[in-house]
Amino acid sequence: MADPRAIDIKEQPGFRSIAIICLLVLYVPVLILMIFSLNSGSLITHWEGVTLSWYGSAFLNEEFHAAARNTLIISVSATIVSTICATLAAIGMTRVKPWRGLAAAFMVINLPLMVPEIITAVATLSFFALIAGAFGLNFGIGNLILAHTVFCIPFAYMPIRARLEDMDLTLEYAAADLYATPWNAFKRITLPLLVPGIMSGAALAFIVSFDDFTITQLVAGPGQTTLPLYIWNQIRRPMTPEINAISTILLMVSILFVSVSFLIARRRAK
């Protein structure tokens, strides 16, 4: 009779194969898309040979330039504003005695995560149409920056808050004991310890803004094409591997920022 302790208690039959299948399912389609960006033929389905010319033609394309410029203006602005707001809010909601309305404030911060994107998109569109009609207010590309800032705040907020909650309060108390003013204690103790959280939050805010399609598509005015909108416009024309090249660039940006955010978070755990 087999010793029951000889079995691995963590093992469940078939789970390994399902995990590997999931990984393949997630990566194979994207890898194929990336590989075809190197196709020397002008069709996206027939492989003819290796070339980098589609990246070259993308980089020389004026429309791509304009879209990349718009995307960077919007995501960098939204990242800066949302990360500052999220950092302040995280301090205002952790380094305090519980105040009336704290739960409600927490809900407001997280609201953009709970509302389906398409609803946020049409609501924001209606809002900007209303203020344009009633007060003649149109911030141009600022409309998109504001719309992006709203949904970037909760993404930036999460890692910053997590970091503040994990932090050892002893150091802050020690600073107060040594007659540091609250501002000095914040500047010299809390802020330096908080930097990894802020970096990781900013990276996430940048990714969600950089990749946004739904809200941007409905809110964007003429001449406000971003990279995801540019891809969408290309899909409706006969496609060349240039679209694969641009898609690959977008994926690489996401992978870079996720890895940065991930590595910062992992160093914290150690």
């Binding site: 205002g92 409905l218 991930f262």
Partner: protein, 315 residues
């Protein structure tokens, strides 16, 4: 243990100072939340209130609204007014799209759970170094551009796509199987889009699993199947609920996936709403449709809150 070395007087003085500092900064600190709350309040919450108001107004002929009270938007959701005798006729077109979307979302959630649970469990039982790689590999698609990922699915299921080309080359079929712009394509796209949304919350729940409980179950002569169904699954219930919610809500309101893989032929709620603001030129109807979707999401969230609140109470 530095505090233990301090004399009672310094200690109480320090405690007093600390309490004072914490208190005064506490009052000021809460004001720090204001910028974030104002931005989300004005550009996030106010727009939602505006669409509530818009849904009770009349449509302007070229998009936008007329400031005239009307319940047409909600009536139009289920009925169509006959042009000749002004009677209301039941038209289930929109209702069918809602039910279809609901079905898509449920199937997506169930299949994602069936695939995601074993994956998350397998990840949670790896040695720590390997575990980090798995988490990173699932996290990357989680944050990758959804439009590009959907495009990747489109490339492989097109008539001239990789799957059809491979089947043709192998002689399994003699003309391409149409997969793009079908319900199958949308379902596949939704699964592909939201699988990482299921795996990550499940993983963070399973990672904390106390394996001594599993050992105890085996000591008490439980079979592998019993351990899975009566120990592991009940213990990971919070993760399962969170994962299902994270898949169900965005799947129900999906916009990009049906737009690209449904080709405008097979609609889901998201495309229907966007249509009213585009070619449909009926903003109040679009607002009403958005609010009906929001109501469905709130019902789902209510079940989530009730479930997790119950969990805390029972310890």
């Amino acid at each position: 243990m530095t505090t233990a070395a301090l004399s009672p007087t310094t200690l109480s003085k320090a405690a007093l100072f600390e309490a004072k500092a914490v208190k005064t900064s506490a009052r000021r600190n809460r004001l720090l939340s204001l910028p974030a709350l104002i931005i989300i309040g004005v550009f996030g919450v106010l727009p939602l209130i505006i669409i509530c108001v818009y849904s009770f107004l009349a449509a302007a002929p070229y998009g936008g609204v007329q400031w005239k009270f009307s319940t047409d938007a909600y009536l139009n959701f289920l009925f169509q007014r006959d042009i000749f005798d002004d009677t209301l006729q039941f038209t289930p077109d929109f209702l069918i799209i809602y039910l279809r979307s609901f079905l898509f979302a449920v199937v997506t959630t169930v299949i994602c759970l069936l695939l995601g649970f074993p994956t998350a469990y397998f990840m949670a039982t790896r040695p720590p170094a390997q575990r980090n790689w798995w988490v990173l590999l699932i996290t990357i698609p989680f944050w990758s551009n959804l439009l590009v990922r959907t495009l990747a699915i489109m490339f492989i299921i097109r008539d001239e796509g990789l799957i059809n080309n491979a089947l043709l080359a192998l002689g399994v079929i003699d003309k391409p199987i149409t997969m793009l712009y079908t319900n199958f394509a949308i379902q596949l796209g939704l699964l592909y889009a939201f699988l990482p949304f299921m795996v990550l919350p499940l993983y963070s729940s399973l990672e904390k699993l106390d394996f001594r409980l599993i050992e105890a179950a085996y000591d008490l002569y439980a079979t592998r199947r019993q351990v899975l169904w009566r120990v592991i699954i009940p213990l990971s219930k919070p993760g399962i609920v969170a994962g299902c919610l994270l898949v169900f809500i965005p799947a129900l309101g999906a916009y990009v996936t049906p737009l690209i893989l449904g080709g405008g032929i097979h609609l889901m709620i998201g495309d229907l709403i966007a249509q009213q603001f585009g070619s449909g030129r009926n903003w109040p109807l679009g607002c009403a449709q958005a609010l009906i979707l929001m109501a469905a999401v709130l019902v789902a969230l209510y079940f989530y809150v009730r479930n997790t609140a119950g969990k805390v109470q029972h310890g």
